[in-house]
């Protein structure tokens, strides 16, 4: 579900911003940030969980 969340849910939430340009920037930033967070989880957190 993480990919659905990153690619669809986060931009839909970002679209609520009253300013369209700012909303688009937020959507892009949230997608990229989520992906970086995903890498962090897989690289550092998941291995420690065993």
């Amino acid at each position: 579900m993480s990919v659905v969340l990153a690619l669809l849910a986060l931009p839909i939430i970002a679209a609520r911003d009253p300013l369209p340009q700012r909303g688009l920037k937020r959507a892009l930033v949230s997608v990229v940030a989520f992906n970086i967070f995903f890498v962090f989880l897989v690289r550092f957190v998941v291995p420690r969980l065993g």
């Binding site: 990919v3 659905v4 990153a6 690619l7 669809l8 849910a9 986060l10 931009p11 839909i12 970002a14 679209a15 609520r16 369209p20 340009q21 909303g23 688009l24 959507a27 892009l28 997608v31 990229v32 992906n35 970086i36 995903f38 890498v39 897989v42 690289r43």
Partner: protein, 844 residues
Amino acid sequence: MKTPGARQFLRVVLRRHRQAAAVCALITAAVGAAVFSAMPRTWRVGADVYVAEPVTIHRLANPFAPVPSPKDGLNELTEQLTAHEQLVALVKRVGLVDQWQSSRTVPQRVKDRVVAFFRGPPKEEDVLDALVAMLEQRLSVSVTTDHVKIWVEWPSRDVAFGLVEASVATLEHLRESRDAEALEAVARTLDDQLSGVHSEVVTRAENIRDELVRAAARGHRPSLEAETEQLRRDQSREADLMLRAEEKHISAEVVRRSNTLRFTVVHPAVRPKVPEGLPLALMGFLLLLISVASGVVGAIALSIAGGRVMSGGQLTRELRVPVIASGWVPWKGLEEPLNRRALVLVTVLSVACGVSFAVSEGNALITFAPLIIAFVCWALWSLPLKWPLLLLMLAAVTLDDPSDRPYYRLWHSPVTDAGRLFFSNIAWFTGFELAVMGLVVLTIARRLRAKSRALPLDPTTNLAPRELRLAVLFSGAAIIVLFGYGILRGGIFREALWQFRVLAMLPVISTLVMYAFDFPRDVKLVLGTLVLGSIVKSLLGMYFIYAIAYPSGKFPPHTTGHNDTMLFVTASVVCFLMLWEKPTWRHLFQATAWMAFVAMALRLNDRRIAYVDIAVALLFIYWVSPRHRMKRLVTQGFVLMLPVLMMYFVVGWSARSSIFKPVQKIRSIIAPAEETEEESSNVERDIENFNLLKSWEGNMIFGQGFGHAFTEFVPSNDFSQSNFGHVGHNSVLWLLWIGGIVGLTCVLLYLGIAAFFFARTLRKAQTFDDRVALLTALSIMVTYVLQAFGDMGTEAIPFDFFIAVALAIIGRLTTRLGAWPVPIARVQAVKSVVPPLNGVGVSA
């Protein structure tokens, strides 16, 4: 008022260009007749041989040997008779190489001279190879239960006859040379063994005798029990070998002697009186027909290109004044001269019609092929781009993809051959890729000529936001960069090509669809195509399962392919959306009628992921929808039913009753019962995902690029299914490994941007059509992502079309509803469809 249409247009066209039409018809007739008379005719000669084993002779001659079965060696006969060495022998026996020169027709001789001029005269080996290749195509051998039929189609009657006769002789000789020699070989081996054993027996007997003599001389009794026992065994073996060798010798002789009785020529080869093809009278009629058609098409082409013929209907529409009289007087007003390019085109078309008639020897489809091709080219050039795209979309959702194992490979459906053309490689690319590339070229060419058009064919206003179009192109660029990156890192070009070609087509198709369709106006067209596709697919699936599979005792796990899931899921969601957005009786009736097909198709498709797709898509729809009446109703209903649903799930989790089948389905996805097919499938996928993730750890940021295979850290049973690590079932993890987190983000970012525009537009959409279209687009995106995560979603051609449609719906509606600030669109002056009447010849 009667509105004159095509018939009147045709009459006017033919009256105006009657001379040109006559010339076209004459050219076609003359070329057709000339080429037909110069072309070699095909002569078909056949023979039918009845095969029966002479059982009595076998029994009488060799009562202890098993009688050979009549079917022995029959299945291999086709292969043996058409083997390369047999064909070479046949060519030599009939003396085809000597007849080569004299058998050539006039066009062939001309061709030979041209080739000889550049390359010198052909060598005998080359002629032999060419003849063998020709014979390979023209000799057919079919074997039924007890008949062998041999057919030859050859440009010479006598040669065809000679070839069949020689083939029949080969058939009769084959058995003798093959079976008898094989038996003789076995007999000779046995003879060799026999002589070896015999010498051993003699030696052993002599040894025993010597030992006995020596023992008698010494006066004591020797212990020769072991030696004697071995001698007895050897003697017994010697007798057995003697019998077997004798039997094989007799069998070989029986086969040799009975061979002539085994084959009975039921229908011997005879020289035919008439060549293959239609009778001459019918050919003449067909030539007349194609000539007339060529003339008519020539006249139409000339008038379209230059003459500007108008029908009364067009005049009525333009002038808003009904045409009430027609004078039948040829218009003598100002008339444009004939277009030279059109004249050349029409002449070429007329010649092509004549040649195709002669070459096809009366095949109606090939005869009319030039006209059909000309019509298709004209239609492609003149019609809006959405029509060929709709046709491609229909083909993508209805044709069978051979790589998708349609109908479990038990049935060759009516759309299988067309599917092979569409989805398999022809001329380096698949038919689908060639079609898309052709449409791209067409679009560019039309755009370049757009300035000279009075009205653009495609909707050039209200285009999708630039940001969305750029995101799609950015995805394409990222794929190309990953391709180059992978190859530079030592990836295999061929594998890379298979990995990225469907993925790379998506931006191209999306750009075309975003440009060609104008939503919501075209929503009904697109949905109608999907309805048609889903109905055709489900009907084919039902026919297969109930008329083919079950009656023959086969119970395939699925009928339609993996790629059809998107179609059925989208169709199901649209049924739901109609009621969700506007719950009327009419919608209820329509949704129920359509859902009957779709539900059946879903059941026959039998994919767990389809139900997950529907559930998640509906959850998204529920989430993004405002609190309208249906949402409130569903919420209240769900809250009220929650205790019952929980009970149902708890009880049904381990139950086997069919009432709890939905719970079992959900369980098979979340936590399948041990030692079931679902559990095995989940484990295999888990292993593959683990291997992908471990491989990804090699380069988490930029990945490997295309052309590589992931490492099999944990052995998997279906590693071959992933093309030995080149393709992952989980397309998301696979892309993550291919492009790293940067590549994945760049390739799929367009989905995020589309979701953003979707959410902004949905708030502005008020009409039923707009809302259903937008929510359908969301459902397609959700399904695409889930299919990508679940089972190679990025590797399916039909999915490219679905995503393209979703992006086009969102993009067009975003601009149309003003959900995104775009520069004021260039207002295009809408000029009249019809050019000014000055200088136009009118006859109404």
